[in-house]
């Protein structure tokens, strides 16, 4: 039985356990999820992909063919505990810990998927500069109405699995709180890293509805049971996602790596659910044409593998001027390359950290500039300047979120994932 089939209270419980973390949460997860009979990972790790972010091949797909994200996530923001630059011994410690995870679980949504990334602040420890083939600026505000705090730990570990107990166990192992995972001996980061922050979340049908009793969502329990995210609509359409190839760095010492942008977003969905009509929600999420033509059934699974824009992105300004609103999808779809590919690969998920409805927006892209371009398209400032659409009002979903933190990371290729120098 998969982890999705046993009812709301169990899912709710597992989500809560992931959010709390620790040994008691882990054992609680084991009680609720049962102990899934998971294979261990390979003994010989040489066949693992060079790209840490090569997850799609090992994730499942939905009926339409879209890649389905793993359901439970933990983000560990880590500070290097030593002084100055890491030693070779430190790198070995980190690498051994990561290899332990790989041996413990298969590299899949039912097992464990993870990446490790490093901030510009980390690379600043070194005199040498990052190769020009890597675009990794410090995080900054990306809209005139936001004032995010920068996330500048040294490293970010993203753990993902369909099983809450797997991400929790992996976290504990890395932090030295357990010595075996799935009956495989594992090691920890030891005293190389200190945990600076811990963020958790989930995505997938049922989880948002089961966890909607948080600040930022009305008490009327408005989140659809079939919705994979709190805003009530499906996302991650194949056609709206960049391929892993598209987000992979092509040249230089970090070729086969990627960059990650992580923002911590608070959701404010009182207006969304209590004041906006479904017509407005569909129009603001997708496009006014989606609302007028009632293209979206339920949470939107009927749309298949693309969001059914049908050229709506080219009518963004026209819609802004005549329909009084523009869709988030419509606006964002304007950020495409010469091959009509999106620029970013979203691996975001919802959160109830701090008792607040949130979104950990994690995206992968070849250059951080690709993310900035996509975010600018989403801001729609150009549209607001030339129409009745406001800076945030009626401008996609900007009105319903605030960005608290932003961080940029280099996710090196697997060969350089453990405390890399800027010029490995």
């Amino acid at each position: 039985m998969g982890p999705t089939d046993r009812g709301v209270s169990r899912r709710d419980f597992v989500k809560a356990a992931v959010a709390i973390g620790g040994t008691s949460a882990l054992s609680a997860c084991l009680d609720r999820e049962g102990a899934p009979d998971l294979d261990t990972g390979p003994e010989d790790l040489s066949a693992l992909p060079a790209r840490q972010h090569a997850w799609n091949e090992s994730l499942s797909r939905d009926e339409a063919g879209n890649v389905t994200a793993a359901r439970h996530h933990v983000l560990l923001l880590l500070d290097y505990a030593g002084e100055g630059t890491p030693t070779d011994g430190d790198s070995d410690t980190v690498e051994q810990a990561l290899r332990g995870l790989e041996r413990a679980y298969p590299r899949s949504n039912e097992g464990l998927l993870f990446t490790v990334g490093y901030t510009p602040a980390y690379f600043d420890r070194y005199d040498a500069s990052l190769s020009d083939s890597v675009d990794l600026p410090r995080p900054e505000a990306l809209a005139p109405f936001e004032d995010p705090e920068p996330d500048e730990p040294d490293a970010l570990v993203h753990l993902a699995s369909d099983y809450g107990q797997v991400v929790l166990g992996a976290e504990e192992a890395l932090l030295g709180e357990r010595e075996t995972l799935n009956d495989v001996d594992v090691s920890s980061f030891g005293d190389v890293f200190e945990r600076a922050d811990r963020r958790t979340g989930f995505t997938g049908a049922g989880l948002p509805a089961a966890n909607q009793d948080v600040d930022g969502i009305p008490d009327s329990e408005p989140v659809d049971e079939n919705a994979p995210l709190f805003m009530g609509f499906t996302s991650g359409f194949e056609a709206n996602q960049a391929s892993e190839d598209r987000v992979t760095i092509r040249e230089g010492p970090f070729a086969e790596g990627t960059t990650a942008h992580l923002s911590k977003i608070q959701l404010h969905l009182d207006q969304w659910y209590d004041q906006d009509s479904r017509y407005q929600r569909v129009g603001k999420m997708f496009s006014p044409a989606h609302a007028d033509e009632e293209k979206v059934e339920g949470v939107g699974n009927n749309l298949g593998t693309d969001s059914g824009l049908d050229g709506d992105q080219d009518r963004t300004l026209e819609d802004a001027r005549t329909k009084g609103m523009v869709g988030h999808t419509q606006k964002s779809a304007r950020a495409r390359d010469e091959n009509d590919s999106p620029l970013i690969l979203r691996r975001d998920f919802d959160s109830t950290d701090g008792g607040e409805a949130g979104l950990h927006f994690l995206s992968l892209q070849r250059t951080v500039a690709d993310f900035v371009e996509t975010r600018e398209a989403m801001n729609g400032t150009d549209v607001a300047d030339q129409s009745a659409v406001g800076t945030r009002n009626n401008n996609g979903i900007l009105q319903y979120m605030s960005v608290d933190r932003r961080g940029n990371y280099l996710v090196p290729p697997r060969d350089h994932r453990s405390l890399p120098r800027p010029d490995p």
Binding site: F145, G283, K323, M325, S387, A388
Partner: protein, 349 residues
Amino acid sequence: MDSRQWTRRDLLCASGAVGVGALAGCSGLLEEQSTGRNPPVVEDRPDDIYLPSHAEGMAMIGMQEVGGRMVALMYSFAHRFWTVTGEVTELVQPGGDVHLMASIWDPDSGTVLPVDSGLGFELTKGDWSAERAPWTMLSQNMGFHYGDNMALDGEGTYTVTVETGAVGTERVGDFADSFGESATAEFAWEYTEAARDEIAFRTLDDAGDLGALDPMEMDMPLSVAPSAEELPGQVFGSAEAGDVEFVAAVASAEDGDALVVSPRTRYNGYVLPAMSLSATLDRDGSTAFDDILTAAVGPDLGYHYRASVDAVESGDELRITTDSGPQVSRHEGYETAFTDVPDVSITAD
């Protein structure tokens, strides 16, 4: 108007918010009180500005000067309003405890900044907090403001932070170098239901008739457009359609002449923000201009729409098309108006 004047009023109102008696100074309506504060919407509403079922006052929480602008925070009881997207209006039923409002203006000119800024509220009380990007709104007795119904965490002392956002609308004249940065105003607010229920309310006998409530007598400027006589530049005509009066002028701009269109509400003359306007200028049978107008705000022109033009000559025919009416939420009495505004033509005199 000089800034000191507003600052004095600031103090007046800040103290006025404390006691019910002093509230009179900041409340435009102190008439009969009622608990049934959301009477039914009148039947057979006209597609024009009409007198609503009731009128209500508001109470000032405070005013502050931050980032070169004045920020006022006010509240009333929660009430219905309508959101607007294109020609679609959606009724928002009263919900929560209060209707929280903010207004922002230039202290020197008194020009209300009815602009795209992404303004945000954050309310905190102990561990409780709520954030909101309120709607831009238009009401008959207050004109343009930001507001929304909000649920609170009971009575007590709240800290309300107003993040103004940077003024996104083009800024002209002496505003060119102002308001480009966001500013934060923080207010302490002692909320009690009793004080809220003291806020004035009255029903209207002539509800549903064409017309509008008078602007409140406020200790802060309202978003009234400059009269045709006051409008700088050369006013060359005006026209009215769909309860919107369009005043057209030519003003000098940095890069030559600007065609200025200043739409305002019938009756109260409030500026109408967040419209999509376009215009053509015909001269002797040929088209001298055909493009969209973009929003701008200046200390003398107020909030208006404009485009660069070579010139406007006597006899030119200006045709103004409203691609969409003001995309701001409406208080009762404005929700049926301005949704389908006919084109207007003005011949330059």
